[in-house]
Symmetry: C2
Subunit: 451 residues, 2 copies
């Protein structure tokens, strides 16, 4: 008789694990419990559904439930919530419409994801106030736009969700005000990116209000205004995107250890502190490849990769889940912005580094070649060792070049190594010295001067 692999949560991490385990070990019984309706969907695509660039919510589904059940022989149960785990008996307690039952497991994966933070604002429950983290919310926003034809929107929070939703709602013809408590939008991308994106958002007629705390929403039944400390700002719709928190309650209630970030602590194979229990995706920590410390980076690639690795491990071939470099990229209207590694000076010091950085602006193509755009690169390294710690880039073309630095971080390259990389050059694609190389040259000079 085959073993049973139970998976809690049917999105990226869970379904990657299910597919991989079943493919590698067909005799395994793979059971997935998903408390909602949607499985295996691209949450990152939701802003583009709201904007209208993606026609149907279904377009965001990578693999349908039918394909999992019929094509991949995965026992997928939507609208089934796992409410408890007994790690001694090796069972989970499942709650569905009209039943509650125990499901035994040999291997268990907790892939419960994350949730949008709901701040304790007045008026959070008003009609027209939304968070956007799951497909039903995207659907509700789209329906609200169709039904009420709002003219003004407030976006609360200037993280990537806020920036993407500002673009989406502008694209739907709304006049958008974006509120950010911190001095700059896209805080994890650093101020170089933040300032460039703010300037661009303003060019696109987004009213960007920095260092501005929202206190709540006013209206009777439906939202009418955003309340600040000293004024009210009209809004027919509000999106609250102030971050996410890991859904770690199930693990915590089971006595599984959480890490310093509040997400589930895992080892290099994605194992939790409970025997035969794994965690992956937005509810779990990953190891930062720069600091070597646990990190919580709830992004799609990490979820997919760790899920897949755990599926392979459960199928009998132990596979490491890999680390995170905290790489992220975001589109803000016509700009692309990206980041990787450790950018924040105090975070770098805390991890034992002595950070030194440069910011350069160069061209995306040969300067004489049509269509070349400015690309700004911020590069950070450790003064003593020259090791590259992180980078951010921003421009109308070429933000994916962050991948060069992400690769360098995984390999532990120094600034000298970076400036010696043989990157691709031809006039339509790059200057002779790719902007990443130029940043490395300038930072290399600064490191030399300091010696």
């Amino acid at each position: 008789m085959g073993e049973t692999f139970v998976i809690v949560g049917g999105d990226a991490a869970g379904m990657s694990a299910a597919s991989k385990a079943k493919r590698e070990s067909p005799e395994l019984d793979v059971v997935v419990f998903e408390k909602g309706e949607w499985v295996s969907y691209a949450a990152c695509g939701m802003p583009y559904y709201v904007k209208g660039d993606v026609a149907e919510l279904d377009d965001l589904v990578s693999v349908t439930p039918e394909e999992f059940v019929q094509g991949r022989d995965v026992d997928l149960r939507t609208r089934h919530e796992v409410v408890a785990v007994d790690t001694d008996a090796k069972t989970v307690t499942v709650s569905a419409d009209d039943e509650r039952f125990e499901q035994p497991y040999d291997h268990l994966l907790i892939a419960t994801g994350a949730s949008a933070i709901r701040p304790p604002f007045d008026g959070m429950d008003l009609d027209g106030v939304f968070t956007i983290h799951d497909m039903d919310e995207a659907d509700a926003i789209d329906q609200f736009l169709d039904r009420h034809d709002p003219e003004t929107a407030a976006v609360v929070g200037g993280g990537y969700v806020g920036v993407e939703m500002a673009e989406a709602l502008s694209g739907r013809g709304l006049s958008v005000t974006l509120f950010e408590m911190l001095p700059h939008v896209l805080q994890p991308f650093g101020s170089v990116v933040g300032e460039a994106v703010e300037e661009h958002l303003r060019e696109q007629d987004v009213d960007v209000r920095l260092e501005t705390a929202v206190e709540g929403f006013a209206g009777s039944g439906r939202i009418e205004a955003v309340d600040l400390d000293d004024e009210g700002v009209s809004a027919d719709l509000a999106i609250v995107g102030v971050g996410v928190e890991p859904n770690a309650e199930l693990a915590a209630d089971t006595g599984i250890e959480l890490g310093p970030t509040g997400a589930v602590a895992t080892d290099e194979h994605g194992r939790t502190t409970a025997p035969d229990v794994y965690a992956a995706g937005d509810c779990a920590e990953a190891t930062n490849v720069v600091t070597g410390e646990p990190d919580h980076v709830p992004l799609a690639l990490t979820a997919n990769r760790s899920g897949r690795a755990i599926g392979q491990t459960v199928a009998g071939e132990p596979t490491e889940v890999g680390g995170t470099a905290g790489t992220a990229i975001v589109k803000a209207f016509d700009l692309g912005a990206a980041r990787t590694g450790v950018l924040d000076e105090s975070a770098a010091r805390e991890a034992g580094f002595d950070p030194v950085s440069v910011t350069i602006t160069d061209e995306s193509r040969a300067n004489y070649y049509p269509g070349s755009e400015e690309l700004t690169v911020h590069l950070v390294a450790d003064r003593d060792t020259g090791r590259v710690l992180g980078a951010s880039v921003v421009g109308r073309e070429g933000a994916k070049r962050i991948d060069t630095v992400a690769t360098a971080l995984h390999a532990g390259l120094t600034v000298e190594d970076l400036q010696n990389l043989d990157l691709a050059y031809a006039p339509p694609f790059s200057p002779v010295w790719d902007p990443i190389l130029t940043a490395a040259k300038v930072l290399g000079g600064r490191l030399d001067d300091g010696k």
Copy 2:
């Protein structure tokens, strides 16, 4: 009194060395002898000048002679040819219009570049038959097009110059036939890229003739046809782009050792076998980072970087010139194609590897996101160690992603390392699994199966 740094050749390698040496050590006398008129120009931009995308030849000049002389205090002498080197006396013999003199040096850099190969075709001297390697040739082609308004063009050679010139001449309204002796165009990019580019060239109405040897050109005074073994093909213009050869005569005549490729042998600091004599750029070898063997990759970045490093070394700070991964990228109409490392199976075996490869086609963006294009990735690794050996990519968007693999080659990463890279994902920029990661996943599976 300061030392004298003499540089032979005023393009990328020579002028990078001159600028860097003078900046780091202002007391150094830096003398550059350039036998032609043009210095510090982007030869890679010439096809785009011929096409009409770049208005003036002068736009391709990075730094003017005046800027070198006035702004950087470099003693630049154009129309001065170095005809001999005496490494005992440490002098060079210089020939100019009406004089011939000896110039002493403390440090000498040979940066004599490369020349277009002129095959022994009949009719090579006919009017309308061109090679394109220096600025005067680009100018002559442009003038010929203006003066004679040719309707048909033959491009002989399907390397990157041939492919770029096919695009340029089509852009000028000519009907283009491209002749390639080998089974595929862009041979160093491998057949996956070659086939994709051939198909695209044909879609663009370029008549691509593979495995077709040109024997010469016919015409009286001006070219009228290309002669093949069994037929003639009408042509009002011909571009011969069958490769380049290093200008290594000066070094060879001096008794300096040439390497196995026929270019000047150099060590990790760009030193030749003669004391205080360096070589850099298209006339010199570089170390291949994959094989560790000498290689001849006459491309702009290597020239700039090695020149700059030698300038720094001469200025008193020994700096390694860095290796080459053989990275290259080329635009062919709407396609981008790129390569890095060792792709050729027999070359890999010769270097002691047991190559295994995969080819995958994925999307450049999330499949539901507008504007996504197919990107094909060919990835090669060593079976025993899993070490990545090389890659090629081709598609309408995303060819610069080759840089990720180029970086991996410098760092000696394995396929497993590659598939664990935290690359940037958001729907407008990439699928969750970047196509490079997908190729690594598939190749990783193949390597596992072989164990």
